[in-house]
Every structure is written in structure tokens, then in C-alpha cells.
Symmetry: C2
Subunit: 299 residues, 2 copies
């Protein structure tokens, strides 16, 4: 009779969290991003878990992993548990002395859409400490300690998501450059400025408005939209502008629209708020503020 093997220890909590993230997101790489660690760390966590049970949780394929049946059955349990834990942690954070609101956004949105609105927001909510995070992919608001996110992405029926404005794209450039452009074909003579994160923009627009034949021509590529914008402001060429991001420049006259046509993409600017039922009042206040699209006074 086996007596007192020192008490059965459960698997490490961090390994469980890694499993949940990897299973939910469908890959170690994605999970590693959400948890801010390297993929190797995730791999090791999963292995710990698989060694603990003796049953494989993932099936390793050359291009990613897929959940085994066991893994699929387990996932909802863990997702529910970590959702609950996320809410509890959020409640814990809410006890902090000075209320903090964390907003995550695409770098371009942070800089070109949010930044101009911040002064008014801060003025309206002086007791709140704001933190802005620039990131490429929308965070999971029920897990990370982020209250509001601003991203261009496909619509969903999530009740926590609100469309702030549709995404209209159209060519923009300085008025100098615009003088030389009266019809689409004229674009052939100019540098088309591309941004890596929206690499399809020009294709989309040209498909509808562009000249029938359109061979590759001079183009510039940037990894940050705001760099591309700077270049356009400097008269280096024609940029495909996103309404929400270039409106300020258009209003100020720094940039103009050389041609009329615009396209509405299927990825509007969406604001998502964290799903906590009893969210601190500050968060919903802030969300309303942004929805109502306040601007700084002197603009």
C-alpha cells in the first residue's frame, strides 16, 4: 500500500496559461506574443504539461500545431478559468490608488488619430493616468491589463466592439505634386508610397480607379505609416491615405486629394473595451469620450 507520496502537485500555473493561450490562438508563436515570451518558452511549457499527463495535447505539423481531441475538450475549461482570473485581476488593479487606463493601438492610429485627441481627453479626466501602448496586433482584452484598444480590423458582433469610423482610402499628396495629377494615369509619373501594414491599399484603389494597364513603377515602402506620411508631406510622392489618419493634414492643407475616387475597406477603425461587467467608471467615460470624437480645441 502506497502511503504519503508527498502530496500530488498540480502542474505549474504558468504552463496551464501557456496551454490555454496556445490552444485558443492556434499556435505557439501567437501564444508567445500574447504572453510576451519566446516561442521556445511556450514549447517548454506545453511539454511540461504533456509530460505531466502523459497524453499529447497538440499534434505537431510542419506548419503549426493542431489540438488533439483531448486538447480540444480541455480548452473551454481553461479558457473559462483564465477569463475568470483575468476579471479578478482587473478587479484587483481597480483598487489601485490612482485610476489608470491603458489604451492599445496600432502605432499609426496611436500617433495620428489618438495623439491629437489626448490633450482634450486628459483635460476632461485629469484624475486618470493614461498609458498608450503601440502594438501591431489587437490584444486580448479579457486577458491583458488593457482597457481599450483601437485597431483597423474586420467587424465582428462582439458587443464590446464599436465602429468609430469607416476606413476610406484615397490618394493624398502635397498640393505641389497634385498640380501634376489630374487623372489616374498621371500617377504613373510619380512615386507611389506604400506602407507595409497596408500593402494592398494601392492595388485595391487602382483596381477600381486606376488606368487599365499599370505596370510596376517607382514606389517607396515604409514599415511605419507615419514615416510614409512624413514622406508624402515632404512631397516625395503619392500616399494612399486612410481617412482617419490623414484628415488632420487635409484640414490643415498640408496634404490634398489629387483625385476624387475613394474606397471603403472592410476594416473600419474599431474601438474595443474590456469586457468586465463592473468596469471602473473611468473606462466607460473614456470610451464614450472617444466615441463622441472630441478634438482638441484649437484644431
Amino acid at each position: 500500500m502506497s502511503v504519503s507520496p508527498p502530496r500530488p502537485k498540480g502542474p505549474p500555473l504558468n504552463a496551464l496559461r501557456a496551454f490555454e493561450a496556445a490552444a485558443r490562438l492556434g499556435g505557439f508563436a501567437q501564444a508567445s506574443e500574447e504572453l510576451c515570451v519566446t516561442p521556445g518558452a511556450i514549447s517548454q511549457h506545453i511539454k511540461t504539461l504533456e509530460d505531466w499527463t502523459g497524453t499529447p495535447l497538440f499534434q505537431r505539423k510542419a506548419h503549426g500545431v493542431v489540438l488533439t481531441e483531448d486538447g480540444q475538450r480541455l480548452l473551454p475549461h481553461f479558457t473559462q478559468a483564465f477569463d475568470a482570473l483575468g476579471n479578478a485581476t482587473r478587479a484587483l488593479r481597480a483598487t489601485m490608488a490612482l485610476p489608470t487606463i491603458t489604451i492599445a493601438a496600432l502605432p499609426s492610429i496611436a500617433q495620428l488619430w489618438l495623439s491629437p485627441r489626448m490633450p482634450a481627453l486628459r483635460a476632461a479626466m485629469p484624475e486618470v493616468r493614461f498609458t498608450i501602448l503601440a502594438m501591431e496586433t489587437p490584444p486580448n482584452l479579457s486577458r491583458e491589463l488593457i482597457d481599450i484598444s483601437l485597431f483597423m480590423r474586420p467587424t465582428s458582433d462582439d458587443e464590446n466592439q464599436h465602429i468609430l469610423c469607416e476606413d476610406h482610402i484615397f490618394p493624398v499628396c502635397t498640393s505641389e505634386v497634385a498640380k501634376q495629377i489630374v487623372k489616374p494615369v498621371d500617377l504613373l509619373d510619380h512615386t507611389l508610397i506604400h506602407d507595409e501594414s497596408w500593402s494592398d491599399d494601392w492595388d485595391l484603389w487602382l483596381k477600381k480607379y486606376g488606368p487599365d494597364v499599370f505596370n510596376t513603377q517607382t514606389e517607396a515602402r515604409y514599415s511605419l505609416y507615419s514615416l510614409a506620411l512624413d514622406d508624402a508631406r515632404a512631397g516625395a510622392g503619392v500616399l494612399m491615405g486612410h481617412a482617419a489618419l490623414v484628415n488632420r493634414d487635409l484640414e490643415k492643407g498640408i496634404l490634398v486629394r489629387p483625385l476624387e475616387g475613394f474606397i471603403q475597406t472592410d476594416q473600419p477603425l474599431i474601438m474595443e473595451t474590456s469586457p468586465l461587467k463592473n468596469a471602473p467608471k473611468e473606462v466607460s467615460d473614456c470610451a464614450h469620450y472617444l466615441m463622441n470624437d472630441h478634438r482638441i480645441g484649437n484644431e
Copy 2:
């Protein structure tokens, strides 16, 4: 404008678990026992958490800690979350190749009540691996990976708890010793064997049946009931017997009851089963087996 402080990390999961345990159990010492660490470790976890939020979670008194208001508000959130996590972990364990059932019991119960029943149980469920854990205090079945617990303790209205048998106590000794004992006063001439974990037993019994005057006399104390029992079997004196634990010896004639009177304590032998809704079938099978009080054949 503050941009990209490397992503707000939540507090360590282990610290959250420590808080939950300490808050639920009402002390660091208790929590440290449940989590199998030293109280110092708990203390540090709590401090980590308190530093993270900036608000105190516990109020330190000289004789223990009490939850602050914030702590009280937070506790249910975390309890719920960790309950869910416990269930998920249990589900994970259920995927293990060969089903395992872990039974926790008071050392004396494990040895004197459970052990004789194990051969039949193993025979009835040959595909299951059983693990018996001896421990002093009932474990939290919704947290630890233990399926069934067997303890003498006060009744509760928990639906997962079942009374296996009432706890009757009465003096027992060898038939040799019994010859010299015909009425309670005769006990004065013999060693009264005590067990540390039930130190009140003799007092209780003597209060009802004992001689009016009863000065302290020879007595032996043991920290393990089975050691006390061994001593009684060897004719060293009179032990206060618990029905569930000495029945075998009575049946076999190794021990006898020199006097008639017995007392029913308010701490029956209770079996508790883990609360998982979809508990593996093996666990409920095992529980039913124990409830029906099977014995080994040749007894």
C-alpha cells in the same frame, strides 16, 4: 505622451493563488499548509501583490491577519477563478492514460479503516491506480488533486460529504487486562492510553461513566493512534477505542471491551468527494464502494 512601456504585466499567478488561499483560510499559516510551502513564502507573495497594487490586502494583527475591505471584495472573484482552474486541472488529469484515484485520510483511518478495505477495492477496480495520502487536516478537494477524503470531523450540509459511520468511543484492552476491570473505578489501577489527536476522548467518557473522583494517574500518550493501538494490543493498558478503528480487533478477539458504556462523538467518519460535475466514473464507483462498506473476504 507615454508610448509603449513594455506592456503591463499582471501580477504573478502564484501570488494570486497565495492570496486566494490566505484570504479564504483566514491566515498565512493555513494557506502555507494548503500550498505546501512555508508561511514566509506566503508572506512574500502577499507583499508582491500589495506592492503591485499599492493597497494593503491584509491588516496585520499580532494574532493573525484580517482581510481589509479591498481584500474582502476581491476574494470571491479569485475563489471563483481558482475553483474553475481546479476543475480544469482535474479534467486535464482525467486524460491520463491509466486512471488514478487519490484518497486522503487521517493516518489512523488510512491504516485501520481504509487499509483492510483496499484489497477488495483494488480487486473490484483493477484498472485503477490508487494513491493513499495520510494527512492531519482535511484537504480542500476543489483545489488539490485529491478525489476522496476520509476524516473524522463535524458534519456539514455539503452535498459532497457523506457520513460513513458515527464515531462511538469506548475503552478497549486485551482480555487479560479486562479480567481485572469490572467497574469504572478499576480503571484507576491501569494505564490509560491516550492519542494526541483525540486527547479529549478519556475526559469525555469519564465524565459520563467514570468514578466521581478521578485523579490523574498513569497514562501513556502517542502521536499516532495506531501506535497507541499496538500498545493496547500488547496489554500495556486501556485505550479509548473508536468503533471504526478497533472493530477489526474486536471481531478477531485481539481486543475486548471491559466495560459497557460508549459515547457518540459529534465527529463521525465522513467521506468527501471532489465536487467536479463531470467527475470520472471511477471516482464515484470508488465512493459507492466505500459507502457500502465492503470488507475483505477473509475477515
